[in-house]
């Protein structure tokens, strides 16, 4: 099972017998045509689809942001009006948080994690297909609602009573709540897949200490999803029940409590920020290691910092509620936790600087995006310390200062590394390089535009401009800085257009650069770019955290996996010793059908509680179809059984 033979890491393709490859091709390929498109369970196809969909939502959210900036460019502006503006800022926040940031991080995980740990597909591949469909349907539902003038207008946080039945009239807040349910179901599914893949499907020899930092980050993110998302599903469900069937969870007159909503929402809402931020830290580590030509300094410290961030991330939520009547003694605990969470991130920043210092930096576009992090995210983190102080927070909370802070953290901490990651892994996905000159335009326009747009907001907040206002009186004197911010937003838009042009052009015409253009060290570069349907053949064995650097002459490999069934190697949790072989399921229409049935239930339950009753019948039928045992599988299992 572990016969070892040498292999050229940068030129994987020619090795192995071609007949074997053909059989593998046949076993792992996705059926052709639209049927294949609907039934595929290939993590690379689903991952790409996930990334492209999330990017479309990023563009939609960006267009909404531009509309808001146009409205705020001058005082007393009448461009949008409060009704439309409230819908737009709610849609912007909901889109960016639920339909872009979290899904795109999951999507990168779905695409990269199986390649990084050296396996042939993600764990639970049909669940993976399901999670994409349910996410897509949730997003389409929200945007259909928005185009029909039923876009939510109560903020991405939907505070009750404003989002409750009396003040949130119509169905707008219901669509918000159901969008949350959709995307959280999807996120939970992806989290389970990623954890299982990293824990049980690693290449032989990839002990926990050798797991790449990005895979670690994805695991921490997934655990955070598993602990945080149930809170918000509970919140959105109780909100729907208050609105649809008149329960009183949030009605103070009947013993409910408006503050309860805030606790439930922020218990999820703050970890959400780290769910977005932690994978980005992993991407930072990958890019810095490759472009410094050395492993990241202090691997153990980095991993501990990721885990610590994930744990402390759950102890901060009340700092969103410092202006409420939570007792002060309670708030003080959250001040301490909110300040101390800066420490693990600071350590990571120091380790990266030490990596650059002791390495040999190569200045390519991915590294530029990563270097911007050292200015933008650090600034955002420092303003975060200001929000951690109870008394100072009461001055800046819910003002444009917080708008500036959160964009510095989320754009600097997640979107900049993500763009770096696009440039870095684009050759992996397509086999072609993105244009470097366009990349630099993309970077500098984004960097300058970003700071122009968001830095003035710090001052606006301190000068008294609250968030979520559709306009402001001229006499407040906020016009100049707001105009500046709008100009900056225009530059960001230009930068994103440059990126889109770059991708569209280079997808077909970019330079062909071989399998490992950056001569990186992690396993995803050990196969062809783009990878074949079966990812690896033969399946590699690793002996260090950067296997491709350590064995210049080639990696040892594992043989003995079936090439006629979709078999992957399952390894032990800590040492990654070979444990057993597991057959993964192939393409199926059932995930799509189940997702459609569940989507019908969710959308129907916006209008009538009976949708839950009648809608559960198709869902149950679809799930029975999905899990109905096949004849071949049953026979095989019977054959394998050892009689007592």
């Amino acid at each position: 099972m572990s016969a070892r033979q040498p292999m050229d890491p940068t030129n994987f393709e020619p090795l192995g017998h071609s007949a074997e490859r053909e059989r593998l091709e046949q076993t792992w390929s996705t059926p052709p045509g639209i049927y294949g498109w609907l039934t595929t369970v290939d993590h690379k196809l689903i991952g790409k689809r996930f990334i492209v969909t999330a990017f479309f939502f990023f563009l939609a959210g960006g267009i909404l942001a531009m509309l808001m900036r146009l409205q705020l460019a001058q005082p007393d502006n009448r461009l949008l009006g409060p009704d439309l503006y409230n819908q737009i800022f709610t849609m912007h926040g909901t889109t960016m948080m639920f339909l872009f940031a979290v899904p795109i991080m999951e999507a990168m995980g779905v695409y990269l994690v199986p390649l990084m740990v050296g396996t042939r597909n993600i764990a639970f591949p049909r669940l993976n297909a399901f999670s994409y469909w349910i996410y897509l349907f949730g997003g389409l539902m929200l945007y259909s609602a928005f185009l029909l003038n039923i876009g939510p207008d109560v903020g991405w946080f939907s505070y009750v009573p404003l989002a409750g039945p009396e003040y949130g009239t119509g169905k707008r807040a219901d669509f918000w709540a159901q969008t949350i349910t959709f995307t959280e179901v999807s996120a939970l599914a992806v989290a389970v897949e990623i954890i299982t893949t990293v824990f049980k499907q690693r290449a032989v020899g990839m002990s926990l200490g050798r797991v790449p930092l990005l895979a670690w980050a994805m695991v921490v993110m997934s655990f955070m999803i598993i602990f945080a998302m149930p809170g918000v599903i509970l919140a959105s469900t109780t909100l729907i029940m208050d609105r649809l069937v008149g329960t009183h969870f949030f009605n103070p007159a009947e013993g409910g409590d408006a503050l309860l909503w805030q606790h439930l929402f922020w218990f999820f809402g703050h970890p959400e920020v780290y769910i977005i931020f932690i994978p980005a830290l992993g991407m930072m580590s990958s890019i810095i290691a490759t472009f410094s030509r050395r492993p990241v300094f202090g691997h153990a410290v980095m991993v501990s910092a990721l885990v610590a961030t994930g744990v402390i991330g759950f102890m901060l939520w009340v700092h969103h509620m410092f202006a409420t009547m939570v007792p002060n003694a309670g708030k003080m605990f959250f001040t301490v936790a909110s300040m101390l969470i800066a420490l693990p991130t600071a350590l990571q920043v120091y380790c990266w600087i030490a990596t650059l210092w002791t390495g040999r930096p190569v200045f390519k576009t991915p590294l530029l995006f990563v270097l911007a992090f050292f200015f933008i995210l650090v600034l955002g983190g420092l303003t975060g310390l200001m929000l951690a102080s109870i008394s100072l927070d009461t001055q800046v909370h819910d003002t444009f200062f917080v708008v500036a802070h959160l964009h510095y953290v989320l754009i600097g901490g997640a979107v900049f590394p993500l763009f770096g990651a696009f440039y870095y892994w684009f050759p992996k996905i397509t086999g072609r390089l993105l244009n470097e000159t366009a990349g630099r335009w993309n970077f500098w326009l984004f960097f300058i535009g970003f700071n122009l747009a968001f830095f003035p907001m710090h001052q606006l907040g301190l000068e008294g401009m609250p968030r979520r206002v559709y306009t402001y009186p001229e006499a407040m004197g906020w016009g100049g800085l707001n105009l500046l911010a709008t100009i900056g937003a225009g530059l960001i838009a230009a930068s994103v257009l440059v990126f889109i042009g770059n991708v569209l052009w280079c997808r077909r015409r970019g330079a062909l650069v071989g399998n490992n253009p950056w001569s990186a060290g992690t396993l995803e570069w050990a196969t062809t770019s783009p990878p074949p349907d079966y990812n690896f053949h033969p399946v590699p064995v690793v002996a260090g955290p950067e296997p491709l650097w350590e064995r210049a002459t080639g990696l040892p490999v594992v043989a003995g996996l079936s090439d006629t069934t979709r078999e992957v190697l399952v390894t032990t949790l800590i040492e990654a010793k070979p444990d057993h072989r597991e057959e993964l399921p192939g393409p199926s229409l059932w995930p799509l059908i189940s997702a459609l049935a569940l989507a019908a239930l969710f959308v129907g339950s916006i209008f009538t509680p009976w949708a839950v009753v009648w809608g559960s019948i198709p869902v149950a039928a679809a799930l029975i179809g999905w899990f109905w045992p096949k004849k071949r599988e049953t026979e095989e299992e019977v054959a394998e059984e050892v009689p007592p």
Partner: protein
């Protein structure tokens, strides 16, 4: 892939054509209504729900969540609840049942509010703007389930909407005076 996209766009287009009357927010009142209202002179003695069909411009209020919610707010602000309570009736007749003394069409209710009715219902004509009367009519109709369910909130944020069954039988002592 393209087929799916096409199907979705077609569905969306179809839905957009029908529009979503439920969700409009008309902050600025619509243009003055025709004199249809003026010509509507129902005899006070004529009971039952027979009435002219609703005028098109007012149906916008009937299925509109914002109008119904505004009607709900005005119902308490203009102290309708002082006599009718929250629909259960007290000094004034209950509004939650399906018994309509002067007709259940929006125009009937509009006329009742504008002109007043014998035995205590004051005339609000000249006191409250016309569009608010239509909003009130929409809310009053929603109390007995005459408006689409998806435009009506499931509950209000107050305790009172829980209690009509008991308060109906025992009018509160505060309410013994005659209505204004």
């Amino acid at each position: 892939m393209k087929i799916l996209r096409g199907v979705w766009i077609a569905m969306l287009g179809a839905a957009a054509l029908t529009g979503c009357e439920r969700e409009e927010r008309n902050f600025v009142e619509p243009p003055p209504t025709s004199s249809a209202v003026e010509s509507l002179r129902l005899s006070d003695l004529r009971p039952g729900p027979s009435s002219p069909p609703p005028a098109a411009e007012n149906s916008a209020y009937q299925e509109n969540a914002y109008a119904i919610s505004e009607g709900q707010r005005l119902f308490s602000w203009y102290n309708c609840a002082g006599c009718h309570f929250h629909g259960g009736g007290g000094i004034g007749p209950p509004l939650m049942d399906d018994l309509w003394i002067y007709g259940s069409e929006p125009q009937n209710i509009h006329a009742t509010i504008i002109q007043g009715r014998p035995n205590g219902m004051p005339a609000f004509g000249g006191r409250i703007p016309d569009y608010q009367v239509w909003q009130l009519a929409a809310y009053v109709r929603s109390l007995s389930g005459l408006t689409p369910k998806d435009a009506v909130p499931a509950r209000s944020d107050h305790m009172s909407n829980e209690s009509p069954p008991t308060t109906m039988e025992k009018p509160s002592p505060k309410m013994t005076g005659s209505p204004p």
